[in-house]
Amino acid sequence: MIDKIGIEQFMILSTLMFFIGVYGFLVRKNLITMLMSVELILNAVNINFVAFNKFYYPQNLQGHFFAMFVIAIAATEVAVAIAIIISLYRKIRTIDVEEVDEMKY
């Protein structure tokens, strides 16, 4: 069963996924793809939560619920973010993050 897979594997997986997400966030110019990178990051965290719950705290469901809440918050975040992106697109006809520097200085 899963005792053949160490918790290290889960963690390495989530680390890699997390940093792939970070990489995406850093290089992607399109705001929507950046948003997708954020989703990757959140998912990486979810995997960690769940793995820890499974391996060390089987009697409770904290990790499980946290993962659920993260999903819920991810959903709201996406909703708001997309709303912002769309209204931004309406305003300046682009969603390129490098063009969006209204908050400079």
């Binding site: 069963m1 899963i2 005792d3 053949k4 897979i5 160490g6 918790i7 290290e8 390495i12 680390t15 890699l16 996924m17 997390f18 940093f19 792939i20 970070v22 990489y23 995406g24 850093l26 290089v27 992607r28 110019k29 399109n30 929507i32 793809t33 997708m36 990178s37 989703e39 990757l40 998912n43 995997i47 769940v50 793995a51 719950n53 499974k54 391996f55 089987p58 009697q59 409770n60 469901l61 499980h64 619920f65 993962a67 659920m68 809440f69 999903i71 918050i73 959903a75 709201t76 975040e77 996406v78 909703a79 708001v80 997309i82 709303a83 769309i86 209204s87 697109y89 309406r90 969603i95």
Partner: protein, 167 residues
């Protein structure tokens, strides 16, 4: 069996993650993300969190991806190829991410994790329901309510932000 399944899923997650952040066609990137999310749901199944996996599938794979695809439709041409990121930017980001990954992974590998306790999680619907609406120890009624409030606020916020100005 689970071991094989885990490695397959892990491989899928990593490959599609990389594709998500590198694909120059935005719609494809969204589809790759979908695969990542499905694979993650698979992982949850492997860990015997069926409910969570279901939520992952419906909410993430179903809701969020659709939302993203809609917004892509609204803001970009589907056939459009994104321009490649600058080499300098890529290099710096790669260095930072690689360094971060190495630091984290080496920390993980150097850490002596205790052995698996062997207990099984009771993730039945009943247990989840009791816990989610419980307000005693291990009860999550308050965060649950807060999240619902947050969802409401986000909904209102999204509508107001995205609403076309009437003039």
């Amino acid at each position: 069996m689970e071991v094989v399944l885990f490695y397959i899923l892990a491989g899928m997650i990593l490959i599609f993650s990389v594709l998500t952040v590198t694909s120059r066609r935005i719609l494809r990137a969204a589809v790759y993300l979908l695969f990542v999310l499905i694979a993650a749901a698979g992982l949850f199944f492997v860990l015997q969190f069926e409910f969570l996996a279901a939520v992952q599938l419906t909410l993430y794979a179903g809701g969020i991806i659709v939302l993203i695809i809609f917004s892509i439709m609204l803001t970009s041409h589907v056939s459009e190829k994104l321009e490649a990121p600058g080499i300098k930017k890529t290099a710096f980001a790669l260095i930072a991410c690689a360094a971060g990954a190495i630091v984290t992974i080496s920390t993980i590998l150097n850490y002596d994790f205790p052995a698996y306790s062997g207990g099984n999680v009771d993730a039945s619907m009943k247990a989840i329901g009791t816990s989610l609406l419980g307000y005693k120890e291990n009860g999550f009624a308050l965060p649950f309510e807060v999240i619902s409030l947050l969802l409401l606020a986000a909904m209102l916020g999204a509508i107001i932000i995205a609403k076309r100005k009437e003039n």
